[in-house]
Amino acid sequence: MDFSQQLTQYLLSGLATGAIYALIGIGFAIIYNSTGIINFAQGELVMIGGMLGVYLLERWQVPLFLAVLLAIVGTACVGVLFERLAIRPLRQPTPLSLVIITIGGSILLRGIAMLLWGKDTHALPSFSGDAPLAVAGATLLPQHLWIFALTILLITATKLFFQYTITGKALRACAVNRRAAGLVGIDVRRMVLFSFFISAAIGALAGIIIAPLTMTSYDVGIMLGLKGFCAAIIGGMSSGIGTVLGGILLGILESLGAGLISSGYKDAIAFIILLLILFLRPQGLFSRGESERV
């Protein structure tokens, strides 16, 4: 394999992981925009999506696509429960208490997952076989295509949802100004609950579609969550194209770094980028001044 082929290979696999980071990042952004909370438990929801999928498939022999669907719905319910049980009852939410409670919640979810499903690493079967395809000298798995397709589909769907449906518009109103949104009759608390529902569902999907490639276990949530957060930060916490570009940029840099520099430091790359962005351009790479929300 010559260098250009190698490069294509890195780009393609970076694109696929980048798409996953983008989805997770969008989950962060949706909750952040409607509540001002960075949900530390987002990564755990991604893990729960994958693990629930594996569990349904292995233990109950549910057909693959039904298992995927059920896992997404189940995770979304976990997200809703999390909001109802941990976030909403907080009497005087301060930024510090919200940080601590979402961290506590994420540890709790991870612990429960460990108790329920054990410490083993599981793999979900690929959605449509493992026969590799050759693209410009590089190999591509069918699962990569699924990831690309589902990511594009989901991002288009969220865009349309925020643009054209009444609930989507209400969520955007909450993002601009929660009090004003309340004044024009939007049920802000329901919107907050709903934003947890959507981002848990998106996170779960991300967790499921990556599981056939990278395996999944009870402790994958923290890394995936942090990298998704990194994507969202690069994108300036928008739930649109900014975060998608952020995720893809991160995925490709990571894959190039792992391939060309050192695979051991692969994970460090994401965090160095995260720190640099936070230090130098906390509003994100693609926005000028006040970043666009939702």
């Binding site: 612990g111 994970d267 720190l275």
Partner: protein
Amino acid sequence: MRREWFKFALYALIVLLAPLCVNGGYLLNVLVFVGINTLLAVGLNLLLGFAGQISLGQAAFYGLGAYGSGVLTASYGWNPWLALVAAALTVGVLAFAIGFPILKLKGHYLAMATLGFGIIVFIVFNEYVDITGGPSGLPGIPNLTAAGMTFDSDLKNFYLIWAVVLTVVLLAINLVHSRIGRALRAIHDSEVAARVLGVNARLLKVQIFTCSAVISCIAGSLYAHTVTFISPASFGFHFSIELLTMVIIGGLGSIYGSCLGAALLTLLPEMLRTFQDYDIVVYGFLLVAMTMFLPGGLVQGGGLLLSQLKRLWPGRGGNNA
């Protein structure tokens, strides 16, 4: 002030008498770790409880102290005390340097940035095998020595480490009752208001961050010389969360609260052997439950309970009379 001295004397007395109450060598060993964790929790509480700035990267400074001391003594044959001071100075400079950009961030962003820093350091411990020994660890770290005595038994280490702990607790109590302590609390309540009143909030936040990093670093050095073998697993994200739980349980902004939290979270898992696998569930639950129901921690909870009892007491006395 006299009350503070009384409280400190009481705490010191409990600490000094503790080895007499445990007859087993094993429990004494656990008490040594209570001391190390108390140092770490007090250091974090100065930052989190008083200045209101969260750090999820404390384990990184702790690890840098341990690896600094470990590598300098085991691989390069430095004097352990010199290595401890060198590590503390280096970490101090590092914390001061990254403190300025990192503490510009607030709330969730600060948490994420410190967490990211912690993970980078953790990855370096694992990957820089030539220096750190990688995941399999770094053996052969010598014990500390002083005046011809080697600190090689649990009892000797107990007194050494708790002497450091008591000094740090005393300094911390002094600090929080000084002008600086009041300025820190002012930053916690409102940074803008504190700045209006002439507090140099940015510098002060960085200074307290550095201070807590150096305390963690010293704790790390002491840990390395006590156990004589270190591996990256002790300095991961999980340990930062454990420290956070200690501080939250004890009570934000209470030095003795952190002492209590550190003691509880170090002793409990040792007492309940079955606890082992459930510890992350318990930490998560404690963090959520404490934040929801008892944001002031056990110390405040105890105070509330006491005042409730006091209110009940004369009432009951009145009925009887």
